[in-house]
Symmetry: D2
Subunit: 358 residues, 4 copies
């Protein structure tokens, strides 16, 4: 039986020990095992919704007040997850921004080890030059600027244009793997071709240029809405004929892929477009890893964890790791989606659970 | 110094030894090392040309005289390389035939472990049903019937149709890896859709159905001429603009690929289309492995080893292993080509030499 | 020319805009592009040294004062990088701890998605049971407890034992990919075999059990010092004979690998042992990604970035991302090293620069 | 109803057609579909046994009568499958020979694209120099001379030595992929080290030299009997303890693997050692592809297709494609085995059926 005195001595010894931990640059596991190693992922990020109706006016005001150019580089406003206060991160791995380019503005050339894409929910008139290849941006298109490709933008019209950017900035930042380089101050090209070189070379189904080797990221600089739309339409029609193709009844989906490998278009980011028929309710899915969704068309409810968002065109919401997501389509709905799944698959950390809550 | 007597004794011992080799089921290496292990590939197959003008009338006569149906299965006439007498092999690994289907004829369902494709140099009106998916065959199209897929043909028109078949029959035969199964006697479908299910699901550039896994052979049942033509046209235009893409000046080329892996459309057979501008002379290429070429359009000279063939639409010629090939285009020329390169690449046996004769 | 009044108005508009950014959950890129996307990796982690002579007494005091058991799970004290204050992280991706197990103590069974290893700088007498397979821990051994393998420890001697643990806890935490499960409270086995089952099955050079499939992590539960030592000795002897094998003159190195794939023993962590001959000075190397080094034998200087550490047996130091490291051996030196390179290689983010400072 | 006259006319037309097929270099499919495309593999090769007691004396007589040297290159006598008359092929893909080297003889240096190994059923005293690395050959060892590695042999003893060679000569011949090159006439080295450089660099379980890249064939020039024996012993002991490892009860097996990839030691040839406990009867296995087996130790029955061979030390038998094999061990039995499975796996042609006859 330990008396009060020995208890006091022991406490003193413990206090000394913890003080010495700090001096020695040590932190004991036993006081924080729960936080460090939770029973299942407990993301600091939370399900959250950003309404396009809120974002767009702010982007437009930025266009009036903030110049775009060398240094800041882009007039891009990042979604900051309320669970990651002060950080410009939509999720712990994904950076997402609304970018605005005014009439006849340009954004200067640079490149970085972070992988990037643009998705256009509305408008047109901007060309992104990727390693000197001018790529038109139009509603519904997905544009890639893979790791270490020089890129710059120019708006050739009298109208502003707005789109979203997606990058793996948080991932690369946490990994201390970011490199950045400024390109020439002058635009590499003022060309405004209907089709980019990348599309002309790679944009033919199942056909590879014999001269071109495999690449980790897709060489197809743009995935056009007309093809995405046709692919989704076909899946639902095939389902009507009893043929396979859809993800589940009423729910079609395509993945933007690298034609040299069949894998994701970007090494670190999965990009997809989903289509729901009116009335469809998707089976709940819970996955390791996070994603960002943007409504392209239509009206839906999105239940993410314990929150339900009523969403419409342009609205963006995030799904943290190991958080259920279910979609209910009030109308025909198209959703663009990107996530970090390739990271987990490459590292042996992927898990997915389909179905109702355990 | 060995006398005549001991020489005779030694010869007797040697004769006995060789006789005992035979009894024991042995064959010494030292008498045939040169043949077994040549300094470089010495194919028994020879460069050879089959003229379409000769083949087509024979195919038509077969159509009059030989029924198509269960047992023989196909009205297909195989190219027999003169260097492989009595064998229906265009090269030591590749079987190639002209197939003929009369008005309203059908060819019955079967499947086999051999991989197969069809290429259409002229005509239309036949549908190939692949695992129940009806695929139209038209000029310039490449159609796949991969290993172990059930397939059957029907001609829905009043005109006969002719095309070429390519299979890995010799390879699979030498490897003792052939399996064959008869399908139902009745056609699986009489449908004649403009686009097959496979194309509707997979024929969108860079877009993968999320629901579908990787496959060793391409799920894209048909590669249409309109896409192949556009891809070749684009490569030559890009070259005019100084952009990469062509194989060499004036020589464009696409490879038919598996969108789930980026690799060859068929595991064992490489399939490609080449385009030459008038006047182009290609750099000589010598590779391990053999290939078969068919002129799709135009007039050219093909120098294969020490033979030169003047070729025109439909003509077929073969290039044996380690034999130089050079093409000279008299007009705009399109050539379909297939080869066994994937086999050598998979087995670490690939070698290619580009340039003039050593 | 903008007057004072309009300047005030503009500032007011800007202030409003920034306030509305915050309300909307947006953070502009242009104010923090430098931090988010540095020109090259600027790790918050710093080069740092922990002396074994400091750590060991603290570990022993913990052994007196802190019980080991369910909940805290392990008597492990993590190295906390001074650049990552308050976090128990040696580097932004790697968790490293000194673990102490007293005489006849046990640590209870659990498993987690985090990958782990143990490395023993001194002592013996503990067995780690990995999925029920008892693995002896001895000086110089590397022991694996891969992702999701149940593991527990028991000390069967009258002496305490101390070793280091390495895990990918920070990486998995940032990725929100952690799963944890408690095992049975009772030890799965009290066996103390000389060789574990894993070693008996897999510990034969170049020999695979035919019955066993590939695995993402190595099935070889222990890499014994006798083999590591012999491999390093052989490399230096081969160098003396003019044969290849060493990394650079006087610098030998082996990587612990997965015999089913030839890749790293753990999917997310590279583990290596290096040996330097007395007087060897290694070429500076700068890599993306971080590493932790522990001296196993001998005396050396380690220059990491702008710091130089004089190190001896048991000392641990860290190399942050994109920070030069050079080693100078005062005696024969053996160093255990682990790093996060497999993560960067899988994600296309690896870069290495060898040689003197640019 | 067709009259006799019209029948005669039709026959004449058919005869003309078939004659014209021949002239045109065509062979119709319908007359030989059965042979070209059998329902399942019908190998021309047959199950066959070569008794060591027959082979060894013939090899010794060859040693008396036939010189070894440049040109013939090796005193090797190939097993000729009775189903492949006149061909020095054990199976359609595998060449196997007994090789004999007399006291103090040497066999000159050469290299070839064919992959090769040696397996030693008895004796020692020969060193094989592989790219200048001297590798001792002893009972139970597997030695590799991969594609395009220079190799030569020298017997440093007063006793002759005999072993078997295995190569992919038939495969490479059928593929027209053979290259051959003579090396220097003089031996590259007269060294006779206990361990080769390859073993010293690579022969440590799970340990890779950091400086060495992946290779298609194993860099481990020799797999020693002591390791093979230990691995097989361990599997059977583990089975006694209820742990996994054996192929089936009483049947252990190891595969010789490439430590840089975990795959087969040679790209085109699988090499394995099997051990059976007395009384074990293996489950019948039928696979696409062929194999050659050599008894290393013990007495067994081997039932291959409809033949049963009673086999003892040194005896060699072949298993053609898609032919059942069952082994019954009368004593403790060790069997070396090599096969062409990697070829079929790479080409998507592998199939295996386990269990009693369908």
């Amino acid at each position: 039986m330990m008396g009060a005195a020995s208890g006091q001595i022991e406490q003193k010894l413990l206090d000394d020990l913890y003080a010495d931990f700090e001096t020695a640059g040590l932190i004991p596991l036993w006081t924080q095992r729960d936080d460090l190693m939770p029973m299942s992922p407990q993301s600091a990020a939370v399900p959250h919704l950003w309404r396009w109706a809120d974002l767009l006016p702010i982007a437009e005001r930025s266009g009036q007040l903030v110049p775009v150019g060398r240094g800041g580089e882009r007039r891009a406003m990042a979604l900051s997850n309320p669970g990651l206060p002060g950080l410009p991160y939509a999720t712990p791995t994904l950076w997402t921004a609304i970018q605005y380019l005014g009439p006849h503005e340009t954004a200067p050339s640079h490149r970085h080890s972070q992988g990037a894409f643009r998705f256009v929910v509305d408008g047109e008139g901007v060309w992104t030059n990727v390693d000197g290849d001018a790529v038109a941006m139009r509603r519904g298109d997905l544009l890639l600027t893979p790791s270490w490709a020089f890129h710059e933008h120019q708006n050739v019209t009298d109208e502003p244009m707005t789109w979203i950017d997606g990058l793996d900035i948080p991932l690369v930042s946490q990994l201390d793997a970011g490199f950045f380089e400024f390109g020439p101050d002058e635009l590499s090209t003022r060309a405004t071709p209907e089709r980019s070189r990348g599309e002309r070379l790679w944009g033919h189904p199942g056909l590879r240029p014999i001269s071109q080797p495999d690449r980790p990221n897709s060489p197809l600089a743009a995935y056009r809405w007309e093809h995405t739309d046709a692919a989704l339409t076909a899946q639902l029609e095939l389902a009507d004929e009893g043929a396979p193709g859809v993800i589940e009844p009423g729910h079609a989906g395509v993945r933007f892929s690298n034609p040299t490998t069949g894998k994701d278009a970007l090494v670190t980011i999965r990009t997809e477009m989903r289509r729901l028929r009116p009335g469809t309710r998707t089976v709940p899915v819970r996955s390791v890893g996070s994603s960002v969704w943007q409504v392209f068309n239509g009206e839906a409810s999105a239940t993410v964890g314990d929150k339900t968002f009523e969403v419409t065109k342009g609205d963006l919401f995030v799904v943290p790791s190991w958080c259920d997501i279910t979609l209910t389509a009030h109308t025909h709905v198209d959703l663009f989606r990107f996530g970090d799944e390739p990271v987990y698959e490459a590292l042996g950390l992927a898990r997915t659970f389909r179905g109702d809550q355990k």
